[in-house]
């Protein structure tokens, strides 16, 4: 397992591997994920970046403009796992045959649509086969590329364009799928769940472990979407902090089957703090919906306790 001390200034001085000029929205959390995951690559190492169709793909490789400093492949929406497993296998063969000398790493990005839903089977296959690759989900909790339709990563009660809050609807009916746990049950050597913290140590070290642990690894990164969630773009880091401190988005990792909690807030904040700044939960603060916040809180508490038990 990779264990190096985290020197923030040194890390921030590493060369950018995601170039500007991509067409993601102002304030997009997805590209913050990509930049900071790719930063964990060693400078001398080459990489092939994969990508499921989604906001990131249509914005970061619009012909003829690629935003990547590394080789890049997008194939389709539902097959980022399978596509990169083909690339990784090709690398192994060509290396064995002496046609390639350099060290390459394989990292693929998918939104929650391409990862939790349409690409779930392809991801599961790639993880089960144990390709030496990292699948990174930039989880913004809905199909944002097509305009905020619900996904299985969308939290309960969120107002989306296919689960709109209305006079007889309080938004999405179902609770979120716990994808990180599902991938951990594939018994891959590394699974990490993270988001953005002020010095990015949690994301960086998890990305580093995911990339440099031999075998299949999965990273689930909550990547807020200002348009889909309905908050001011500048508020992104505050939203992330609230997600962590309310235990809505716990930070943890699973290393060789061992669950490790990365952070426990000194004071667990009530879930309202996370919900309030977001337009997608605005309807929960109407008088008639007050008990729904209680239900949301119960679900957060239940999952938090379950996670803590796993980590003990």
């Amino acid at each position: 397992m990779v264990q190096t001390a985290y020197n923030f200034k040194e890390v921030m001085s590493k060369p950018e591997r995601l170039a500007p000029g991509h067409r993601m929205c102002a304030g997009c959390g997805g590209t913050i994920t990509v930049r900071n995951v790719l930063r964990a690559l060693k400078e001398g190492d080459k990489a092939v970046i994969g990508n499921a169709t989604g906001c990131l793909e249509v914005s970061s490789y619009m012909y003829p403009y690629t935003a990547y400093e590394d080789s890049y492949i997008h194939n389709a929406f539902e097959n980022a796992g399978a596509t990169l497993s083909g690339v990784e296998t090709a690398y192994n063969v060509l290396k064995k045959k002496g046609k390639i000398k350099d060290t390459y790493k394989f990292i693929t990005f998918g939104g929650d649509g391409g990862t939790y839903d349409i690409g779930f089977q392809s991801l599961s296959g790639a993880m089960e086969r144990g390709h030496d690759m990292v699948y990174v989900c930039y989880d913004n909790g809905a199909y944002m590329n097509t305009g905020t339709q619900r996904s299985s990563a969308t939290p309960q009660f969120a107002d989306t364009t296919t689960t709109p809050a209305g006079s007889v609807s309080a938004g999405k009916v179902q609770i979120r799928k716990d994808l990180a746990a599902i991938i951990a049950e594939h018994h891959v050597p590394y699974v990490g769940q993270t988001t953005f913290t002020s010095n990015f140590k949690d994301l960086y070290t998890k990305a580093q472990k995911a990339i440099y642990t031999p075998g299949a690894a999965f990273l689930n990164v909550m990547s807020p979407c200002p348009r889909g969630w309905g908050y001011e773009t500048s508020e992104l880091m505050n939203i992330c902090k609230l997600a962590i401190d309310t235990c809505y988005w716990p930070l943890f990792e699973v290393i060789d089957g061992q669950w490790i909690l990365s952070y426990e807030p000194k004071k667990k904040l009530p879930i309202e703090e996370f919900l309030k700044p977001q337009r997608r939960f605005r309807h929960l603060f109407k008088k008639e919906n007050e008990e729904l916040i209680g239900l949301f809180q119960e679900e957060v508490d239940r999952r938090w306790e379950e996670l803590k038990n796993r980590c003990n």
Partner: protein, 100 residues
């Protein structure tokens, strides 16, 4: 340096389209100016900056260049003006100004 848009652009004849729409170089997106999208603009006050670099990782547009452990002024060619950097600066060294 030769730019990709001089070779391939929306007026290119079909014979100039690269095979399978593949591009054989890295980071050509740099040529595309997203700075025009801005409706508000971060202003960097160098004298207030303590070079803590907390603004660097939060930029979705890789528009805060760093060299030798120090940040430089914004890359206004690409900065979209989201304002995340201004919010995270502990020293008030970044302020948002209306307009481009």
């Amino acid at each position: 340096m030769e730019r990709i848009q001089d070779r391939i652009n929306e007026q290119s004849p079909w014979e100039h389209i690269t095979e399978g729409n593949k591009i054989f170089e890295a980071a050509t997106a740099r040529e595309f100016c997203t700075g025009e999208w801005r409706t508000s603009t971060p202003v960097f006050e160098r004298e207030k900056c303590k070079q803590c670099l907390l603004c660097v990782p939060v930029c979705p547009d890789s528009s805060i260049p760093v060299s030798a452990g120090k940040r430089a002024d914004f890359d206004y060619e690409h900065c979209k003006g989201c304002g995340i950097c201004a919010k995270v600066c502990p020293f008030g060294a970044i302020t948002m100004r209306e307009g481009k």
